[in-house]
């Protein structure tokens, strides 16, 4: 695979850069969607990321992913310098870090999907106020009523905690809400609000890209030994192309994290 005199790249590398250009357009469209939805939202309805999402967990995930980019480039550098064993070790580390990212993601998503919001026709009294929305965890549900254990009220100081972590006391008693008084019951999944819709879509699509990358990395982990025997240079170039893709996926997260979680 000779580099071309004009581009200085072999075919596969040029191809992957073009593919990444299209990926920029793909995620760009979704970021544009975020902007349009946020700008068009009723004032006060768009939540701050850190009031709904788990920032410490996502920060940990950011560090995990950046580290995986480092191990990915170390893998390519090792095989480029003809050290296959080290290359495969770093490839394995990359895979494990990616898996860690996804596991953390699983817990993030699970917390959202098991947390619910009930929207009411007539207000009910909760924590001393009349409210039209109750958030909390669902209990028994029948055709006539829904039982919900409401979240504790937010802390008086403005660093709002994750609603799912009720650290003080046990959770309050379950409330019974008649179905006739309910407009909508929703989890904190994508249907909850446009913010969570774009959150799940952006992070979900990003997560699928991580899975795709993991599949490719796993393939090279498994077939690496025999590929190294028959076509070491081609194998090295394939690791390089995988690395380019992986860095892109990491770069997307570096934009995602502040936009969704911190702004």
């Amino acid at each position: 695979m000779e580099p071309h005199p004009i581009t200085g790249m072999y075919n596969g590398k040029f191809g992957i850069w073009l593919f990444l250009a299209s990926e920029v357009m793909l995620f760009g469209a979704l970021f544009s969607t975020y902007v349009l939805l946020r700008v068009g939202a009723e004032p006060g309805t768009w939540p701050r990321g850190d009031s709904i999402l788990n920032v410490p967990l996502a920060t940990f995930n950011t560090i995990v992913l950046i580290t995986s980019s480092v191990t990915m480039v170390m893998s390519w550098a090792s095989v480029k310098m003809h050290d296959f064993a080290k290359g495969r070790l770093y490839l394995t580390l990359t895979f494990l870090l990616a898996a860690t990212f996804l596991v953390v993601k699983y817990f993030e998503y699970k917390a959202k999907l098991t947390h619910h919001q009930v929207e009411l026709v007539q207000p009910v009294t909760l924590h001393g106020h009349d409210v039209l929305k109750i958030t909390g965890h669902l209990g028994e549900q029948t055709d006539e009523f829904v039982m919900i254990a409401p979240d504790p009220p937010p802390e008086p100081d403005e660093h709002s905690s994750e609603p799912t972590r009720s650290s003080h006391g046990g959770h309050p008693e379950e409330m019974r809400i008649e179905r006739s008084n309910i407009t909508r019951v929703t989890d904190f999944g994508p249907r909850h609000s446009t913010f969570l819709a774009i959150y799940f879509t952006l992070t979900g699509l990003h997560g699928l890209h991580i899975v795709g990358g993991m599949v490719v990395i796993l393939y090279f982990m498994i077939t690496g030994a025999s590929a190294w025997q028959t076509m070491p240079e081609k194998y090295t170039n394939r690791i390089e192309c995988t690395g380019l893709y992986w860095h892109f996926v990491d770069l997307v997260w570096i934009f995602l994290f502040p936009v969704l979680y911190l702004l």
């Binding site: 075919n11 250009a21 969607t33 349009l36 939805l37 999944g189 249907r191």
Partner: protein
């Protein structure tokens, strides 16, 4: 398949096959660009035919509203017709699927997947595409997307019926056929993306020695720019398709505004807060570059055919190249001229009006260069040339009628009328499709080693030319009279009833156009086996594909070509013949 050897300039060396590939690997799951090109061509021609049939049913309803559709009326399913008479939803489904199928399953796969795949590697002297297996994957993903699209006709409630534009919130609340449409689109977009990477890498990295960029045939330039449009413009629609799927399946509100009421029922299951305009922006961001994807391959073909049949170089080759590249860039900044009537402010509409006016300049330059190429030429009126010549005034009409649409003031009156339908069909139907016909007649000898019948070709051309104008020219007048698009019964309104004669004329022209295709269909298949055998270069052309055998073997060229001159060295003074192939050095 064993690995390729090293070759100069990043090209693959000749493949070494251990055993002869079996039937499936040779003809079905082939990685040879020529087989894949033929697969794309046959599949897309079938889809074009099917899309045409859908339109013919629509035209019955338009000409003879609320009467039983002859011949097939009784076979139309319950979602589409009642007692053989089309119902409104059925008409909408036909309209949405006609547009979708023609654009995404017909024209683009033929122009890019068919012609691009077969001709481009040959014209640059390459043995195949840069990524042959990716090429095969592109075709099969397209095929699968087509199956899904056709499958939507069998969904409960019938096929997608929200226009090829799938505007929300209608499309979000529509029946399940729309979900099939969205999945089909995701597959088709993926196919295009994979293909576009292939085309760009191939064009840049696999050119033969001596083939610099400014020696490339204009067809290659057109495909090259088209590939960039597909690469960069399609992803936003893929994203939008995913978002609409989420609105439909996951209950999100990307496109669902707050307080929406459908048929008297408040849609409280949605959170609201979404924007129907968001869909329009994401859709048109692709769909405008998409229309250049529709026209550019045809322009490339017409350029080749004109150069060959005028026996002189194209006039203004450099202008053509700079124009097509500039056109590509500009196509990304005009999209909201499809949205002038959405309530946008004058600053924004002025911007898009300006860019739309600017983009007409390179199109006019291209057309002018092609027309000037005819001046003092020795024109050979071959069948490809007839279609290529017809392309010129047809594209001119299409382009000129776009101007009142791009100017916001006149667009107020013409938006969503039949004027728009007339405009865009002129560019795509007598425009692009005629260009594609020219290409079929022109390259048929290279693909098969035989020529199509000239007599049948002329019998195909003349009625087609007459009747296609008969369909679309009246639409400008209908549109100016105020007749609206996507209207199942125009006669319900006074002006629609008054203009009904034009509608009937369009409908009869459409059915007669169908009859005019019969000589072509017969000619195409008959000539594959019984056409007159010809030499490798029956048109006496200069570009590299004609130096390969007809049909070219796997690997294309017996010896790797080297290029010595530009692509259109016709009638060079002092040479013995009136054409000098690119791979032959001009005698001193």
């Amino acid at each position: 398949m064993s690995e390729h050897g090293h070759g100069p300039q990043g090209r693959h060396g000749h493949d070494h096959h251990g055993d002869e590939p079996g039937f499936w690997q040779k003809y079905v799951f082939s990685v040879d660009h020529k087989v894949i090109g033929i697969q794309y061509t046959i599949t897309s021609l079938l889809f074009l035919f099917f899309g045409f049939c859908l339109m013919m049913i629509m035209r019955w309803q338009l000409a003879y509203p609320n009467s039983v559709v002859p011949v097939i009326g009784k076979y139309l399913g319950g979602a589409m017709a009642s007692g053989g008479v089309l119902v409104g939803d059925g008409y909408n489904a036909l309209g949405a699927m006609h547009g979708t199928i023609m654009v995404f399953l017909g024209i683009v796969p033929l122009g890019v997947g068919g012609f691009g795949n077969f001709v481009l590697p040959l014209q640059i002297g390459a043995p195949d595409m840069a990524f042959p297996r990716l090429n095969m994957a592109s075709y099969w993903v397209y095929f699968l997307g087509g199956v899904v699209m056709l499958g939507s006709f069998f969904a409960p409630g019938g096929a997608a019926a929200s226009g090829w534009t799938s505007y929300t919130p209608l499309a979000v609340t529509a029946l399940s056929g729309q979900t099939w449409w969205l999945f089909g689109m995701v597959l088709l977009i993926t196919s295009s993306l994979l293909g576009s990477v292939n085309f760009i890498v191939t064009t840049v990295q696999l050119r033969a020695r001596g083939l610099s960029f400014f020696r490339l045939p204009f067809f290659v330039w057109a495909q090259f720019v088209t590939a960039f449009l597909l690469l960069l413009a399609f992803p936003p629609l893929e994203a939008a398709g995913v978002l609409q799927l989420m609105d439909r399946l996951a209950g999100t509100s990307f496109f669902m505004p707050s307080g929406l009421v459908v048929s008297g029922v408040p849609q409280t299951q949605y959170s609201g807060g979404g924007s129907p305009l968001l869909w329009q922006h994401l859709f048109w961001f692709l769909a405008h570059p998409e229309v250049y994807v529709l026209i550019l391959p045809a322009m490339g073909i017409v350029a080749e055919v004109i150069a060959n049949n005028t026996r002189k170089p194209l006039w203004g080759y450099k202008s053509l190249v700079y124009s097509v590249v500039f056109l590509g860039f500009m196509s990304f900044v005009v999209w909201a001229h499809h949205m002038f009537m959405t309530g946008m402010g004058t600053a924004l509409s002025t911007f898009f009006q300006a860019t739309t006016m600017i983009i007409s300049v390179p199109s006019v330059i291209i057309l002018t260069c092609l027309i000037i190429s005819l001046y003092r030429a020795s024109i050979r009126y071959t069948v490809p040339m007839l279609f290529a010549l017809a392309f010129l005034p047809m594209f001119a009409i299409g382009g000129l009628t776009g101007l009142p649409l791009g100017l916001t003031a006149s667009d107020i009156h013409l938006h969503d009328t039949y004027y728009v339908i007339g405009h865009f069909h002129y560019v795509v139907a007598p425009g692009t499709i005629f260009g594609l016909f020219a290409g079929i007649y022109y390259w048929f000898p290279k693909v098969t080693g035989r020529k199509m019948s000239d007599l049948l070709g002329k019998i195909h051309f003349w009625p087609s030319f007459i009747f296609i104008n008969g369909i679309f020219f009246p639409m400008f007048f209908s549109g100016m009279a105020g007749v609206l698009r996507r209207q199942f019964d125009q006669t319900e309104q006074i002006h629609g009833a008054a203009a009904h004669g034009l509608t009937v004329m369009s409908s009869w022209s459409a059915w007669l156009l169908a009859v005019a295709q019969i000589p072509f269909i017969f000619n195409f298949f008959w000539s594959i086996w019984k056409g007159r055998k010809v030499t490798d270069n029956p048109w006496e052309a200069t570009t590299l594909e004609w130096s390969a055998p007809s049909p070219p073997p796997h690997g294309n060229f017996a010896t790797v070509p080297v290029v010595y001159c530009g692509p259109y060295e016709y009638s060079v003074p002092g040479q013995k013949t009136d054409f000098c192939p690119q791979h032959v050095a001009l005698e001193a």
